[in-house]
């Protein structure tokens, strides 16, 4: 990293950091407002809300980093070109290609940060935040539906009412099917605890068994029932977080589970591919910043160019999200769906740069 | 006729209640029981059958009217009474209150007449306290025409 590229890096990073703090401030502010409505629920105090919002910051950062890189990049570069340092750098023999390379390096650096954030820090932060909030409000972790979490596992369809922060489950009901669409058993357990791989124990269980050919219904109420299932607490935890915030590893294991149970995986596959391409977004943001920043200081529309640059970046980020949703809705192949917007923007940025250079 | 007892019993009535536990049927209003040549008309009739197939019939009416063909010959027995009780096992028919039996030309009136279907003999008693009269009219049998 030559002196010049290090200087460029430091300069841009300052602006990117500045943009990130501004944006993060805005988002934590919105999160706090959302939390205020829950104050007082089960002893949820203001300090708990502040901790919860602070723990969610990494997740927000993960979502905002590309935009911050864009805004920081544009401001940084236009600041450099404004003080004509950029022209000095170009004049001192740095070809466009080398400049682009440095920018790519910077973009890649932030891409790696995004990857780290998305893979470890954000999910952990989110989980701790949820756990803290649950402990504070003594409420339970419930899945997407009011009827709790639903999982299909082989010959069983399982409904978990609630999951406590200590990963034990409450109000579990398991429908066990026979061969031709017949219900063999309904197992209900007041609470269940994970024992070892493949089995849980349910306390205060009730088993309703349907004998074949309408012969009768047998009811047994064992105090403890050993429930054989491939469902693991990790899988339950996964279900309680939106796909976008799951780490790639947990996404991979869950997709594998879904495939084994002939369940639709597109929503989670899209999230997985999205996560892989997301760091690339930082790279493209930096490259998009360059064409917009290369202006003369005095030209009247300097502000307008900056504004357009930011707008384009936002449109890109917006498009990224919409495409993922449409992909899920119309079952487009995930890799392509996720790649299109990024590639489109990279080529647009390249085109602008090329046009600018030629002039 | 003795043979009646083997015959099918038919009951016609306005209303009947059969109780399977006691194998008894209670019929009321315009009840007509027929078995072979025997026919009984009563307002209320209770019929019971025991495992051996003996019929126990009781009932009342205003009055109850009996009619049965005698064995051998075409003489008929008619009888009436306010109440009656027939015990199939013993074959004894008791006619109670204002009972009269008319067989061929003979007639008998009494408070209580016991008629034994086996030997077609009847016996009349009056109720002592009521000073009832027993009035028997025997008409000699005309010798059968030569």
């Amino acid at each position: 990293m030559s002196l010049l590229s290090r200087y460029l890096m430091r300069e841009l990073s300052l602006f990117i950091l500045f943009a990130l703090i501004g944006l993060l401030g805005l988002y934590t502010f919105f999160d706090l407002i959302a939390e205020l409505t829950d104050l007082g629920v089960g002893g949820y105090r203001l300090s708990d809300a502040l901790i919860y919002v602070a723990l969610r910051a990494p997740a927000n950062a993960y979502e905002l980093l590309p935009i911050a890189v864009l805004i920081g990049g544009i401001f940084g570069l236009s600041h450099l070109s404004g003080s004509s340092e950029l022209t000095v750098i170009r004049a001192s023999g740095v070809s466009l290609k080398r400049l682009l390379l440095w920018l790519c390096l910077i973009g890649a650096f932030y891409g790696v940060i995004t990857l780290l954030l998305g893979e470890y820090i954000a999910p952990a932060g989110k989980r701790m935040a949820n756990q803290h909030r649950l402990a504070a409000t003594q409420s339970m972790l419930v899945g997407d539906f009011r009827s709790g979490v639903w999982i299909k596992d082989g010959k069983q369809i399982v409904n978990i009412g609630e999951m406590l922060p200590d990963l034990t489950v409450v109000n579990a009901r398991i429908y066990e099917f026979g061969k031709t669409l017949t219900l063999d058993r309904v197992i209900e357990g007041h609470n269940g605890r994970f024992q070892s791989k493949g089995n849980w124990t349910l306390q205060k269980a009730t088993i309703t068994q349907f004998l074949p050919e309408h012969a009768g219904v047998v009811l047994t109420k064992p105090a403890v029932f050993n429930w054989q299932t491939s469902i693991s607490p990790a899988m339950l935890a996964v279900l309680l977080v939106e796909p976008a915030q799951m780490s790639a590893t947990s996404l991979l294991s869950y997709i594998d589970h879904l495939k084994r149970n002939k369940q639709k995986t597109s929503r989670y596959e899209l999230a997985l591919w999205g996560k892989l391409f997301y760091p690339l977004a930082c790279l493209s943001m930096v490259l998009i910043a360059l064409p917009f920043a290369q202006t003369q200081k005095r030209s009247s529309n300097a502000g307008v160019r900056v504004f357009i640059g930011i707008a384009c970046g936002l449109v890109f980020h917006f498009a990224n999200q919409i495409v993922v949703y449409l992909g899920d809705l119309y079952n487009w192949p995930p890799p392509i769906v996720v790649a299109i917007p990024t590639l489109l923007f990279l080529s647009a940025a390249g085109l602008m740069l090329w046009r600018q250079e030629r002039r | 006729e003795k043979a009646d007892r083997e015959k099918q019993i038919n009951i016609v009535a306005a209303n009947c209640v059969m109780n399977q536990k006691t194998q008894a049927s209670v019929c009321t209003k315009d009840v007509v029981l027929t078995q072979g040549t025997l026919s009984i008309r009563a307002d209320k009739l209770t019929v019971r059958q025991d495992e051996a197939g003996n019929q126990y019939v009781a009932g009342n009416g205003g009055p109850v009217r009996f009619r049965q063909k005698m064995d051998g010959g075409n003489d008929w027995v008619d009888a009436e009474a306010q109440r009656f009780d027939y015990d199939g096992r013993t074959g004894i028919l008791k006619l109670i209150d204002k009972a009269w039996v008319k067989r061929g030309e003979d007639q008998i009136h009494s408070d209580l007449i016991t008629y034994d279907l086996n030997n077609e003999a009847y016996q009349a008693q009056s109720k002592p306290e009521s000073g009832g009269r027993v009035n028997i009219v025997i008409t000699p049998k005309k010798a059968p025409a030569p």
Binding site: G216 | Q8, I11, C16, V17, M18, N19, G53, Q55
Partner: protein, 190 residues
């Protein structure tokens, strides 16, 4: 052109006004779907076999029909070609077959209009009772079957015709309402 100094408030007001108007229009959805009128069926089933299990888990009633339709108003279920088999521990098995049936109060009372055949199986103390009649009303839990129409009952050697009857499995009685014609062969033991 109004003074450019008024540019910002003007732009914002226009934006705000249009956004609110748009939202109001978009949000004025017609009420939720057509109100459910209660006398329209809310369940239709073809070739149905319904088995109800008792508290002890043993099958209590089995009802088959070629077509079943349920009306929310009055919670009435109509069945075509119904066959009811009721097997309660405290009474002999009851089987009723008819052209149509109307079941109300969750099946505790079933009305069989038209031609009906009822068979109450024999028990220790009572012979098998078969009644062919019309417009029969059955209350399975109470073991009661009754009708006001003419019917022919056969029980053991008894053959009974009447207009209207009440058969009570639990009390083991059979009341014949009117126009009774009963005949039976005395049991021959000799």
């Amino acid at each position: 052109m109004p003074g450019t100094t008024r540019l910002l408030p003007l732009a914002l007001v226009v934006l705000l006004g249009s956004l609110t108007w748009l939202l109001d229009r978009a949000a004025s959805l017609p009420g939720s779907a057509v109100a459910i009128n209660a006398n329209q069926p809310d369940m239709l089933v073809d070739k149905a076999t319904a088995v109800r299990f008792g508290e002890d888990g043993r099958p209590l009633s089995l009802l088959t029909a070629t077509h079943v339709s349920h009306l929310p108003a009055g919670d009435i279920t109509w069945l075509e070609n119904p066959h009811l088999r009721y097997t309660a521990p405290d009474q002999p098995r009851l089987e009723v077959t008819g052209e149509r049936a109307k079941s109300i109060k969750q099946g505790s009372e079933v009305w069989f209009p038209g031609v009906v055949k009822m068979v109450r199986s024999a028990s220790a103390t009572q012979a098998e009772l078969t009644i062919n009649g019309r417009d029969m009303r059955v209350l399975p839990q109470e073991g009661l079957a009754s009708s006001e129409a003419p019917a022919i009952a056969v029980m053991g050697t008894y053959v009974i015709e009447s207009v209207g009857f009440i058969a009570d499995s639990k009390a083991e009685t059979l009341e014949l309402k009117s126009k009774v014609r009963m005949s039976y062969e005395p049991i021959r033991t000799r």
